[in-house]
Symmetry: C2
Subunit: 192 residues, 2 copies
Amino acid sequence: MTSLIPSTRDRLVLNAALLFRQKGYHGVGVAEILARAKAPKGSLYHHFPNGKADLALAAADWASAQMQRVAADAFETAKSFDAGATTFCFKLAKLFDLSDHWDGCPVSSTLFEGPQNQAFREKAASVFSGWIDQIAEYGRAAGLPRDIARDRAEALFIGLEGAWVLARALKTSGPIKRLPRLLGFAPGSGDG
Amino acid sequence: MTSLIPSTRDRLVLNAALLFRQKGYHGVGVAEILARAKAPKGSLYHHFPNGKADLALAAADWASAQMQRVAADAFETAKSFDAGATTFCFKLAKLFDLSDHWDGCPVSSTLFEGPQNQAFREKAASVFSGWIDQIAEYGRAAGLPRDIARDRAEALFIGLEGAWVLARALKTSGPIKRLPRLLGFAPGSGDG
DNA sequence: CTACGTGTAGACCAATCGGTCTAATCCCAG
DNA sequence: CTGGGATTAGACCGATTGGTCTACACGTAG
């Protein structure tokens, strides 16, 4: 069972994920993460011997899992792939609004603004591939051919990443909400 | 006429733009910018009294202008809006490959990883709106109705931002090159 | 010549950075 | 109880951060 009080390690990962998403890897100091997690420095370097970089990789995994849960919520109750994609976008638009119209892709913020090393890039590649695979699987389950499902999943991913960027600049979730229509997922918008 | 030796101010903006694009606002120190621009600290704070923040805003403008030149090159010689959009994507894919498959949107890197203040967000909004307006204008010039042109322009922008993200993670310009097809701009791909 | 505004040059500063290290504490095994 | 690994606690470190400040070089106006 899960404890009501998260472990020190979990508090570190959770708060790191939130902060990295808001301010980017270099925009957050370990001191700030430690303060929010109410953990001393020794604990950080005990659980993550490589320090901030290790923590960022763990935070990216945590954020990825959370995003996949949102996707699962949307797609697994939907009557069609298009309906699932639409619900997914609207759920993310809602979360975006709740973050003062600021939070975009947690993985981009965490990994792309960090050191340009191979580990970070590979982690980003594996996380993003995982998302696209997951969404493509929902397409398959809804009866789409394999390559069509993959194309639709990639389109949704790309559209979402782009919409996050525009939404942040314009301070409105409009682009995210319009995404289903733009991609042809919305009812009456085309070949969906 | 333009001098062969750029002014100190121009060297600062140019090098800041390149570095911010690669490493994000917080990922670059003023010392690094100064070293590349071969300028002393006093010059930076003479030309940009607010220091790094002012420089980032100027760098965003510079990067924006450069991007608009690429768009102009692509669209103004194209026979149709769709052809222009396709050429634009391929030009950007080429530039992406030349940057070791790394450089994405220069404005996102420069402004979104910086301090979350209003000035930065508003600058991003005005720059992105400028891009979309410009592309929509090419659509208008090619005979598209106003609202259709705007929709297509926004779709291209969103797709491009998203493709940059995926391309960086996967270390391939594939997503950028496939964008015209994904958006229905490529020949034989739909209603374009 | 002097006077002055623009811009260059870099020493210098407090604050913060990520990281190391030792000591103390906790908790279970025996 | 004792022993000992796991974890917490935070002082401490050198390096780097963005920014300030003074000195001076340069060109032009008077």
